[in-house]
C-alpha cells in the first residue's frame, strides 16, 4: 500500500471497505452541498449492504433520495442534475443492473461533454457492485466493468483496499467527468488502515501493492487480495511476485504496468470479469505490447469462466480465479524457477 504522502496522514484508523466508502461520501457531502445520493433503498435502509447507513440521518431525505426501481430513469436524472450544477452519486444496487442503464451511461453521461464541444459537463459518480461467490446466481454476481471501460468519456474505478476506496471515491465525486465506481460486494468487510486526515488519491495512478522481481501479478479489485495471498505463499517457494493494482481502468496507468513487467519479464493478469473480451484482455494486450522485448513467457490471463455464474456453491467456486489457480498459473509460468535461479 502506498504510504500517505504527508505527516498529518500518518495518523490512521482501521476501517472496513464499507466504512471507508461511507466516510468518503459523507465528507464530500459536508464539503460541498451540491453532492447528493440517489438510488434504491439508499436512505433509511442505507443500501442492502448497509454501505450508506447513517447518511440520511445526517443529510436528510433531500440529499439522500430513495427512488422507485427505475435504474434508467434515476441514472438519467443523475446526468441531468450533474449538467445543471449538482454532483450526484447514483447508486446502482448490483452491477448486474447496469444493463438497464447503459443507454443513459454510455449514450448520455459519457458523451455530453464531447458532443457539446466541452460546453456542458457531467460531474456524476455512479457506484455499483461486482463480484461473485455470494450464492446469488447469474443475475446478481457479474463484474461488468469491461462494458463501461470500453466507452470513451467514462472513468472507471476498481478499489481494492479501504485506503484506496476512500481516496478514490473522493476524487471521483470531485471529478468533472462521469466516473463509474465498482465495489466488490464480497469485500465490504475487509479492513485496512485509513488516514484520519483528509486525503484524496488521483484517478489514473496504479499502485504497486507489493514489490517483487520474478513476475508481475496485475490484479484488480478483490483479485488484488488474492494476488497478495499468492505472493505470500510463493515467496516461501522462492518466487517473488510484484503485485500491481491499476486502481482505475480508465484512465489506465499503462506506464507503471509496462515498467513492472519489463522488470520482472513475466506477467499474469487477474480480473474477476469474464475472461473473454474482459478488462483482463486489455491489460494483457497492453503489457504484451509494451513489454514485448522483455518478456520471457507469454502473458497469462485469469478471469471468471466464460459461463453465467451458477448458483450451486460447488459450481460457483470454480468460476472465479482463486489463490490456488493463480498460484498454479504463476508456478507454471515461472517454470518452477525464480529469475535468480535462471540468471
Amino acid at each position: 500500500m502506498s504510504l500517505p504522502e504527508t505527516e498529518v496522514e500518518a495518523v490512521t484508523e482501521e476501517l472496513t471497505m464499507a466504512q471507508a466508502i461511507r466516510q468518503a461520501i459523507a465528507e464530500e457531502m459536508r464539503r460541498d452541498e451540491s453532492v447528493f445520493v440517489i438510488g434504491e433503498d439508499v436512505a433509511e435502509a442505507g443500501t442492502p449492504f448497509k454501505v450508506l447507513s447513517g447518511l440520511v440521518e445526517e443529510f436528510g431525505t433531500a440529499r439522500v433520495l430513495d427512488t422507485p426501481i427505475s435504474e434508467p430513469g434515476f441514472t438519467g436524472m443523475g446526468v441531468g442534475a450533474a449538467m445543471t450544477g449538482r454532483r450526484p452519486v447514483v447508486d446502482i444496487m448490483f452491477g448486474d443492473f447496469l444493463g438497464l442503464a447503459m443507454d443513459q451511461i454510455a449514450n448520455q453521461a459519457a458523451k455530453v461533454h464531447y458532443m457539446s464541444g466541452g460546453k456542458l459537463s457531467v460531474p456524476l459518480t455512479i457506484r455499483t457492485t461486482m463480484g461473485a461467490t455470494r450464492r446469488s446466481a447469474a443475475q446478481h454476481s457479474q463484474s461488468l466493468h469491461a462494458w463501461v471501460s470500453h466507452i470513451p468519456g467514462l472513468k472507471v474505478v476498481l478499489p481494492s483496499t479501504p485506503y484506496d476506496a476512500k481516496g478514490l471515491m473522493k476524487s471521483a465525486i470531485r471529478d468533472n467527468s462521469p466516473v463509474v465506481f465498482f465495489e466488490d460486494k464480497m469485500n465490504y468487510q475487509q479492513r485496512g488502515q485509513v488516514p484520519v486526515a483528509e486525503y484524496t488519491l488521483p484517478l489514473g495512478v496504479a499502485d504497486i501493492k507489493r514489490p517483487g522481481r520474478d513476475v508481475s501479478l496485475i490484479a484488480t479489485s478483490s483479485m488484488v487480495l488474492v494476488a497478495l495471498e499468492v505472493a505470500q505463499v510463493l515467496a516461501d517457494e522462492g518466487i517473488e511476485c510484484e503485485v500491481v493494482d491499476p486502481r482505475t481502468t480508465v484512465p489506465l496507468d499503462r506506464e507503471t504496468l509496462i515498467e513492472s513487467v519489463r522488470r520482472t519479464s513475466r506477467a499474469v493478469v487477474v480480473d474477476e470479469g469474464h475472461r473473454s473480451y474482459g478488462v483482463g484482455a486489455e491489460l494483457a494486450a497492453v503489457v504484451a505490447e509494451g513489454a514485448f522485448y522483455f518478456l520471457d513467457a507469454p502473458v497469462r490471463r485469469l478471469g471468471a469462466m466464460d459461463v453465467p455464474i451458477p448458483f450451486s456453491p460447488v459450481l460457483e467456486d470454480l468460476t472465479v480465479p482463486t489463490a490456488e489457480t493463480l498460484a498454479e498459473t504463476v508456478r507454471e509460468l515461472c517454470g518452477g524457477k525464480t529469475r535468480e535461479g535462471r540468471a
Binding site: S70, P308, F311, S312, V314
Partner: protein, 332 residues
C-alpha cells in the same frame, strides 16, 4: 406441454374449482417456505431466499384458473407461483440447495426456478425482468394460434420499471393473451410503495387501454374469479388484462431481513397475519360451506408436513452437481 403441439380448444374453466385442492396448495406453499427459512437458519441453504408467506392466495388463485400448458413468469419471490403451477417440492428444495436433482440442475437457485413441463418460464432476479418474456410468450401464442395464455407475476416494485409500460403498450396494440398480475404487498425491499408510486397503479394499465382491476389478494376465490375472467377474455382473443392484488409478505424482504422495525411495524405484520391470512380465511370458508371439517384439515396439514419434510430430506441427501456441469448449458 410442448410448444409445437397446438393446444386443444380450451374454453373458460367451467363450474367451480376444487377449493380443497386450492387450500392444500396454499398450505403446501406455507409449509414449504417455513422449511426454506429453517434450511437458511440451519445454514444448509446457500445464499438467500425471498419468502412469499402471506401471499399464497394470489399464486394459487391465479394458477387455479390456468391450464398446464398456460405460461407463467415469476419473480425473485417465486416459490408460491412455482408450486401453484404444479412444481414438485422435492425438486424445488433440491434447486434451493444447489443440488443436481433440482429443477435447474442447481444452476439457478431460488430466484431462477423454471419448469417448462408446467409452463413455468422462470422466476427472475431482475425486477420486471420477465415482463418481456411473458409478453413475448403471448405473441408466440397468438402467432401459433393456440388458446394458451401467459401470466406475468410482478411485484408492486416493478411498477417503477419502464419496460412494463413498453410491453403493456404492445400487448394492448396486438391484443395479446397476457395477464399482468401485480402483487401489491406494500413494499419494495425496505421502501413503502406509496413513496415510490405516483397516482393509482390501476390507471397505469388503463392508460394503455388494458382492463385493470383491483382484487383482494388474500381471498383466493376472488383472485381466481378475476383471473378466470381475464383468462377467458384472453382465450377469446380479446387481449391483455391487469390485476392488482393487494397482499402482504409476513417475513422480511429475504430470509436475512430480520430487523425490519425501521421500515414497518410488528403491529402491521400481526394485523395481516391474524386478520387477513389467506389460508385461515379459506379454511373458515371451507368449514362454513361444509366442504371440509376441522379434523380433516388438521390431518391434511400433518400429511403435508410429512411430505414436505421428506422432500426437504431428499434434497439434503441429494448430491451436488458434477463439477463438469459448470461449463455445460452455456449454449443450446
Amino acid at each position: 406441454m410442448t410448444d409445437t403441439q397446438a393446444a386443444v380448444s380450451t374454453p373458460a374453466l367451467e363450474g367451480s374449482p376444487d377449493w380443497l385442492r386450492a387450500y392444500r396448495l396454499m398450505l403446501s406453499i406455507r409449509l414449504f417456505e417455513d422449511r426454506v427459512n429453517d434450511l437458511y437458519q440451519r445454514k444448509i441453504m446457500p445464499g438467500l431466499a425471498h419468502l412469499s408467506s402471506g401471499e399464497e392466495g394470489v399464486a394459487v388463485g391465479v394458477c387455479t384458473a390456468l391450464h398446464d400448458d398456460d405460461y407463467i413468469t415469476s419473480t425473485h419471490r417465486g416459490h408460491g407461483h412455482c408450486l401453484a403451477k404444479g412444481a414438485e417440492p422435492k425438486l424445488m428444495f433440491a434447486e434451493l440447495l444447489g443440488k443436481a436433482a433440482g429443477y435447474c440442475g442447481g444452476k439457478g437457485g431460488s430466484m431462477h426456478i423454471a419448469d417448462q413441463q408446467r409452463g413455468n418460464l422462470g422466476a427472475n432476479a431482475i425486477v420486471g425482468g420477465s415482463l418481456g418474456i411473458a409478453t413475448g410468450a403471448g405473441l408466440s401464442i397468438k402467432q401459433r394460434g393456440t388458446t394458451q395464455v401467459a401470466v406475468s407475476f410482478i411485484g408492486d416494485g416493478a411498477l417503477g420499471q419502464g419496460v412494463l409500460y413498453e410491453v403493456m403498450n404492445m400487448a394492448s396494440l396486438w391484443q395479446l393473451p397476457v395477464i399482468y398480475v401485480c402483487e401489491n404487498n406494500l413494499y419494495g425491499e425496505y421502501t413503502l410503495g406509496s413513496e415510490t408510486i405516483a397516482g393509482q397503479p390501476l390507471d397505469r394499465a388503463a392508460a394503455f387501454a388494458i382492463p385493470a382491476l383491483e382484487v383482494d389478494g388474500q381471498d383466493v376465490r376472488a383472485v381466481y374469479r378475476a383471473t378466470a375472467e381475464a383468462v377467458a377474455r384472453a382465450r377469446r382473443g380479446e387481449g391483455p388484462s391487469f390485476l392488482l392484488c393487494s397482499t402482504y409478505r409476513y417475513f422480511g424482504h429475504h430470509v436475512g431481513d430480520v430487523d425490519r422495525g425501521y421500515y414497518r411495524s410488528r403491529d402491521e405484520e400481526q394485523l395481516w397475519r391474524t386478520q387477513r391470512d389467506p389460508i385461515t380465511l379459506a379454511r373458515v370458508w371451507l368449514e362454513a360451506e361444509g366442504l371440509a371439517d376441522s379434523a380433516g384439515l388438521e390431518e391434511l396439514a400433518d400429511q403435508l408436513g410429512r411430505e414436505l419434510e421428506a422432500a426437504a430430506e431428499f434434497a439434503i441427501a441429494a448430491p451436488f452437481p458434477e463439477l463438469d456441469q459448470v461449463a455445460t448449458d452455456v449454449f443450446a
